[in-house]
Symmetry: C2
Subunit: 195 residues, 2 copies
């Protein structure tokens, strides 16, 4: 199967543990547009599922309400295209629960390899072209994004791989997680003939 | 200079004339996160200016307040990186005013060539690699994005060029304008060795 399988890629957007401006570990609030934008990009690039990770009960309720509105409520009638994107969303308490969920999916080929994203990591990184090739190796992959000021160091350290930071055309490197997710999916999954 | 100049690229985010779900021409409301996300992406990729186009007085006031907060208000102290992005923002009533403004900039090399973006255009299009090369021809370029359901047909028809729609890995093609702008800037302006 090596080098020939179609990508089996899942996303996770983590709200805990992430850091704040001072580097403290916090739980961030869910941002409505993160869910819409990343779900739409995930659907566009054939991502299998989009996990929203938060242990906070009120945030879980909020995400459930939002997703229900667009999947089976008035939103589904108003904009069916939005339903096709938001139905990729699953809610989990932590990354361990996400990994278990992917491992137990029908037709699963094993435990997903985790890949953290960061604007400035101290770990050795895998390049975009390297990960693009790896995605065809038959294994499931889980690409992990942080909210607020980024993923906590413990979570970065425990992942199987860290993806290279996005480099733009300047030294400025402060994209929103919505923009970063869009760019990363395009670099990893766009058709090869699309420059 | 042909083939050697650095890109002289400007962005415009149009709130009128755009279309609604039924194809009617409307003026859309300004979305706070559009301004933040697209300004940050523009700054990351070395875009020269980011024009917010709306003729509505209350919307112009709103954008001015938002930008002032981050450029010279409490926001500038709280997060200087955000200031560096939002100071790219200019507000204009219509696209003609944007074109005049760019033409009159110090060191201007002429009237900008306008390039409209669309998820599904009927016009002949320029490819991403084609536009990427053109950006080094010494002319200023203005890349135009629509809000709501996209730019009005009259505006698409009057532009110098139309950029090819973003193709993901599926037939689904409903990215947010924030995601689309990020992907387009990455395809056009990222360093060539960054796959």
């Amino acid at each position: 199967m090596k080098g020939s399988s179609r990508p089996n890629l899942h996303l996770a957007l983590v709200h805990y543990p992430v850091t704040n401006k001072n580097g403290d570990v916090i739980a961030s609030a869910v941002t409505n547009l993160d869910l819409h934008d990343i779900a739409r990009a995930a659907r566009t690039y054939g991502v299998k599922s989009f996990y929203v990770v938060t242990p906070l009960e009120d945030q879980i309720t909020l995400v459930n309400q939002l997703v229900s509105y667009w999947i089976s409520g008035a939103g589904a009638v108003y904009n069916p295209k939005r339903r096709q994107a938001l139905e990729l969303i699953r809610i989990k308490n932590d990354l361990e629960a996400v990994i278990s969920d992917i491992s137990a999916l029908p037709g699963s080929t094993g435990v997903p390899r985790t890949v953290v994203t960061s604007a400035a990591t101290k770990r050795a990184v895998v390049s975009f072209s390297g990960l693009r090739r790896m995605l065809h190796d038959g294994f499931p992959y889980l690409l992990v994004f942080g909210t607020a000021w980024g993923l906590a160091e413990t979570l970065i350290a425990s992942a199987d791989f860290a993806l290279a930071p996005i480099q733009g055309a300047t030294l400025y490197n402060h994209l929103s997680v919505r923009s970063a997710a869009a760019i990363i999916l395009d670099r990893l999954l766009r058709p090869r003939d699309m420059e």
